[in-house]
Symmetry: C2
Subunit: 194 residues, 2 copies
């Protein structure tokens, strides 16, 4: 087997570990915690189906790939809960080190390509990155909504915190932000958000 | 919320159930059984990274989407193990009924599009379908290889059975079939395949 192919297969096996990185979000039907691989799969399918609501035209192949790889760094860095202010302080450093180690398993051209795509997601300055962030917010929101806001109640999350995070959805999609706002308002009325 | 948007969100929530459909394949490191959503995510990333080995040029957005949705029918039909001849007899009928119910949650145009993409995968007559089938074979193979062939030993699978299934990989990628053949030969020598 040539070196290039071996590196590609080594990386393919390495990312299997993303299935063991669990998030605070629970599956619908008050199921178990969701893992990063499932979250990325779900986001990619939703991104395709809801692309008509992106504020800007997007390259949908790039969007799907960005969804699929955006959490690979968490294999080393772990999942940082959106409302965990303490761990958020070190998140960037942990993810930078992970990015270097994991993507460097690939051949150089693919390492550069995937690192760059991940950085584009992080910087959030392109149409695709903004739309993927909208999806990164909406996907756990619909699960949590289906579970009557249990993920928020469990962590005592406030409406202000949720709006702080979800406001970024508006940059990617006004339409998806509208439904986000309706869902948050419903849970404030039900007392599921402080 | 308009009817179209509601249907799209209903479908987005429905497919969450794919995360509860478990396969016979185990995660690397002799981990737990893998589920369909994880398998689809893994296939889609691998399909992107290994596309240079497809026998024919492929539309990579179509390939990734086909990977992502190819097992959605298993939400109703369940996973049918590749070497379970009894359940394979009813697989087509179970998956046909599932296809109708699940994709019909979507607006008509998206129902037609995803059904058609799933049928294209099943018929295996386009470059994209052949390459996605290669990925559907290779992804569990690298996991099982990393676990020293445990999935085969657990079910007493024979080399003939494995070649029967994996031979389809050649239609999508000669290069990926070469490594497949090397892996199978290694496990025959180790006594992991009857």
């Amino acid at each position: 087997m040539d070196e290039r192919f071996k590196k590609q297969l080594d990386f393919s096996l390495e990312i299997d570990k993303e299935k063991n990185i669990f998030r605070q979000t629970h599956l619908s039907g008050n199921g178990r915690n969701e893992n990063d691989a499932e979250h990325a799969w779900h986001m990619a399918v939703m991104a395709y189906l809801l692309r008509e609501y992106s504020n800007e035209d997007v390259d949908i192949a790039k969007v799907m790939l960005m969804c699929l790889i955006h959490d690979i760094v968490e294999i080393d860095a772990g999942d940082t809960y959106a409302y965990d202010d303490e761990n958020k302080k070190t998140q960037r450093d942990r993810e930078e080190a992970a990015k270097e180690r994991i993507f460097s398993i690939l051949p150089d051209d693919q390492r550069d390509e995937l690192m760059s795509l991940f950085e584009e997601f992080e910087e959030n300055e392109t149409a695709e990155a903004r739309y993927v962030h909208a999806m990164d917010n909406l996907q756990p929101l619909i699960l949590n909504d289906s579970n009557d806001g249990n993920d928020w109640r469990e962590h005592g999350v406030s409406a202000e915190q949720v709006y702080g995070r979800q406001s970024r959805t508006k940059l990617g999609s006004e339409k998806l932000y509208d439904i986000t706002d309706q869902i948050i308002q419903k849970h404030i009325k039900k007392g599921n958000l402080k």
